[in-house]
């Protein structure tokens, strides 16, 4: 008997082991190997086709040329950092000399006046997109909740939302530029006009997905929940806080995630035209420079833009899953 049970058991154990290892292998293939193969095929095709495209700025950059530009962009960042350090040193010495001569002189440390490097430009872009997105969220979410709660308001606003939703950032930009230069007048501005222009353009375009999703989320709350609130006679604010918000959070965050994607896409175009010193300006400047490295640098920027967009989306997804009670979404 014993021998038979062992005989029966041992193949099944082996089988289980086999299955497990198969699962691991297939998971490994799905997560690691297949994407690697995909990237390899893409790089290969890119390399081949790049060689056969001849532009007036030379050959279209292949993967190698782009990697080279990543190195040179990093080198530029390091060199500029050293120049900035020297700049601050000189400034300190000069301020000290001025103070020695004139004790009333108010010494001031000015920020480095040299050029923005690629890394600085990435940071500028991230700051701009976040600011624009937050501005849009501050407007869109309360408005969306209000529209969701009030059917009449919803019908009144809906046509406006539908008309403005598909408008391209390029159409908004000239209007925003003129309005910003007319209204934003100050001797010592906190932020530059180009930053404001890009930020507002981003807000105008990323407003709509959030607004629509929030209002749909709020208006489609389970009627049982609403009835509970009615029975308890909850005041409006408590009703929103305890019932509406928790129930519509998944939809709100879906809207926010969509909006952030739109915001990032719009930002590059806005920065190109408004000359905000971010990634969009980098692409535009390189296009204007027309040097033999320009195309490879633009391609490097394209990859960085894509990668950051992907990361931003992941971050939003993580937040969405954290705050949502409905884990199936």
């Amino acid at each position: 008997m014993n021998s038979t049970t062992v005989n029966i058991n041992s193949p099944s154990q082996a089988e289980r082991l086999m299955n497990m290892s198969k699962k691991i292998v297939s998971k490994f293939t799905d997560v690691m190997l297949l994407p690697m193969v995909g990237i390899a095929i893409f790089l290969f095709l890119w390399n081949i086709s790049a060689k056969s495209i001849h532009t007036s700025l030379g050959e279209f950059p292949g993967p190698n040329a782009v990697i080279e530009q990543f190195y040179s962009l990093y080198d530029e960042h390091v060199t500029e950092g050293k120049k900035a350090e020297a700049f601050y040193q000189r400034q300190e010495v000069r301020n000290a000399a001025k103070l020695a001569k004139n004790p009333n002189y108010v010494a001031k440390i000015r920020t480095y006046t040299g050029k923005e490097t690629f890394l600085d430009q990435i940071i500028t872009s991230l700051v701009t997109v976040t600011a624009g997105f937050l501005l849009a969220a501050i407007i869109a979410i309360p408005l969306g909740i209000w529209m969701g709660l009030n059917k009449r308001l919803n019908s009144a606003f809906n046509p406006i939302v539908q008309v403005f939703k598909p408008v391209s950032p390029l159409a908004w930009l000239p209007l925003v530029t003129m309005v910003v230069s007319a209204l934003y007048v100050s001797d010592d501005p906190m932020v530059s006009k180009s930053f404001l222009t890009s930020m507002i353009t981003v807000s105008l375009c990323s407003l709509w997905p959030m607004l629509i999703n929030t209002s749909i989320g709020v208006s489609s709350i389970d009627s049982d929940l609403l009835n509970v609130s009615k029975v308890l006679r909850l005041p409006t604010l408590t009703h929103i806080q305890k019932i509406v918000l928790p129930a519509s959070v998944p939809m709100i965050f879906t809207g926010m995630r969509l909006s952030f994607g739109v915001a990032w896409m719009v930002l590059i175009a806005a920065e190109m035209l408004a000359q905000n010193p971010g990634l969009g300006k980098f692409v535009w400047d390189e296009f204007q420079n027309g040097s033999s490295n320009s195309l490879a640098r633009i391609m490097a920027a394209v990859i960085v833009i894509g990668f950051i967009g992907f990361l931003l989306d992941r971050v939003m997804l993580q937040i969405q899953q954290k705050v949502s009670w409905d884990k199936s979404l």
Binding site: S56, E85, V93, R94, S181, D285, Q288, G290
Partner: protein, 461 residues
């Protein structure tokens, strides 16, 4: 980490020594001049090699020597740049010589802009597309070795344009701005070859400049010239460097004539600031002029010895950003016309020699005569009007103050400047134009009568 620290500390020491030596000079200067009222400045420029004095004054620390902390920013086009200076988002900028004059006169946006410093002489060229060049070439006289005789006159382009006219097609060319030096140079060259470039009629609201035109000129920003011609939108253009040499490198066109050949040693760019800025910050104005004069001198010093270093600065992506070779072609004293036909033009870019930095009234008046010739000034004006306007815009007084303090500080010897005691601001009559017409800045109306094509006394469209 220790190696990193040691590098940082050596750097700090090096920076300190440099800074100390620099601050010593700045202390010596400041005694005579007084501190700058505004220390943080932002200057605009267009991606052209003749912005070099600004880049050099920054990179060589001349601005910092004056206690000025300058940020330099590329602008999208000349209109954006001018608006930036007018609305105060820029403190000063690299400008077309015609811009301060036109703005002060009220042609286009009205604002009182002045210039204490003329940035350079020459530096432009006229380029035509390969196709047009092929049609022009048979009409050009050749030298013994088969290369075309220079300067090439627009006479050789005239049959090509006549052919376009017969076929009912427009012949289009690009220039960078309605009041740009390029517009007037291109017009001058075309008109000297019997091709009418068209009149403006601002009093009738016509700012296209294409009335009666044989060749239709329109505005394109400098960096976009080559790609616009490549796309076939225009058949040729007049622009500054490196955008002519880039056409040669990209194999899309052939520069036919430099502005040096159209008018030898013509004034090109100026440094423009508002009159309000100069009045509010007199010390800052003189100090920035000092820094720019020093930069211009460095660019021309020892027979252009510093030009390769300057080209290296300009090829950085935040300045002009084109390839070193493309910029070097014109900046280091040679100019490539047709591919392979490289000729020596040592004075293609002049920054300091021949008193290039002094703001001459006669230069301003030349631009005014051309504005009148092509109808941008729609009515006759007296000679005195020309002189008064020139004196309102060109400010040799600021230049002289800056130059004298540089002489006193023994940074530049007095013999490198004009003799300020006798200088009137009018150059003696200039002869070297492509059509051999003599220009005397004191007689603008008489000068206008000399042209075959163009508005004359009493003409009104």
């Amino acid at each position: 980490m220790s190696w990193k620290k040691s590098i940082v500390s050596t750097l700090k020491n090096a920076a300190l020594t440099i800074a100390l030596s620099l601050s010593v000079t700045s202390i010596a200067n400041s005694e005579a001049l007084g501190e700058p009222e505004k220390e943080e400045l932002k200057f605009g420029f267009i991606k052209l090699t003749d912005m070099a004095p600004i880049a050099v004054a920054y990179e060589n620390g001349y601005f910092e020597d004056e206690g000025l902390y300058v940020t330099i920013e590329a602008q999208a086009n000349w209109k954006v740049l001018l608006n930036g200076v007018i609305d105060g988002s820029l403190d000063g900028a690299h400008m077309l010589a015609g811009q301060p004059i036109a703005a002060t006169m009220g042609y286009g946006t009205k604002a009182h802009i002045i210039t204490p410093f003329s940035m350079d002489l020459n530096g432009n060229a006229i380029t035509v597309s390969n196709d047009t060049w092929k049609k022009m070439k048979p009409n050009i006289p050749k030298m013994a070795d088969g290369r075309p005789v220079h300067p090439i006159k627009a006479d050789s382009l005239k049959p090509v344009i006549d052919q376009y006219k017969d076929e009912g097609k427009p012949f289009k060319m690009g220039m960078v701005f309605p009041v740009s030096t390029h517009n007037y140079e291109l017009r001058y060259w075309l008109a000297a070859g019997g091709i009418h470039p068209g009149y403006y009629a601002p009093h009738k609201g016509d700012s296209s400049g294409q009335i009666d035109a044989d060749a239709l000129l329109s505005v394109t920003p400098p960096p976009q010239m080559p790609s616009t011609m490549e796309a076939g939108t225009i058949e040729g253009y007049c622009v500054g460097e490196p955008w002519n040499q880039q056409a040669v490198f990209k194999n899309i066109g052939v520069p036919v004539v430099t502005d040096y050949e159209v008018w030898k040693d013509n004034p090109e760019k100026v440094f423009g600031i508002t009159a309000e800025f100069a009045a509010k910050y007199p010390n800052t104005t003189v100090r920035l002029t000092r820094a720019l004069i020093r930069a211009a001198k460095w660019l021309d010093e020892n027979n252009n010895a510093n030009r390769p270093a300057a080209v290296k600065i300009l090829s950085q992506s935040n300045y002009v950003g084109a390839d070193y070779d493309v910029i070097a072609n014109s900046m280091t004293g040679t100019f490539e016309y047709e591919k392979g036909d490289k000729r020596a033009v040592p004075d293609f870019n002049v920054f300091f020699r021949y008193n290039a930095t002094y703001p001459y009234y006669s230069d301003a008046i030349w631009y005014l005569t051309q504005m009148r010739r092509w109808g941008q000034i729609s009515e006759d004006k007296s000679d005195q009007w020309y002189k008064d306007l020139a004196a309102k815009v060109y400010r040799p007084d600021i230049y002289v103050a800056a130059a004298k303090s540089l002489i006193a500080d023994k940074i530049i010897p007095a013999n490198e400047f004009p003799d300020f005691a006798t200088e009137t601001g009018f150059k003696s009559p200039q002869k070297h134009f492509i059509d051999d017409t003599v220009y005397d800045g004191t007689q603008p109306n008489a000068y206008l009568e000399k042209f075959k094509i163009g508005l004359k006394k009493g003409d009104k469209l």
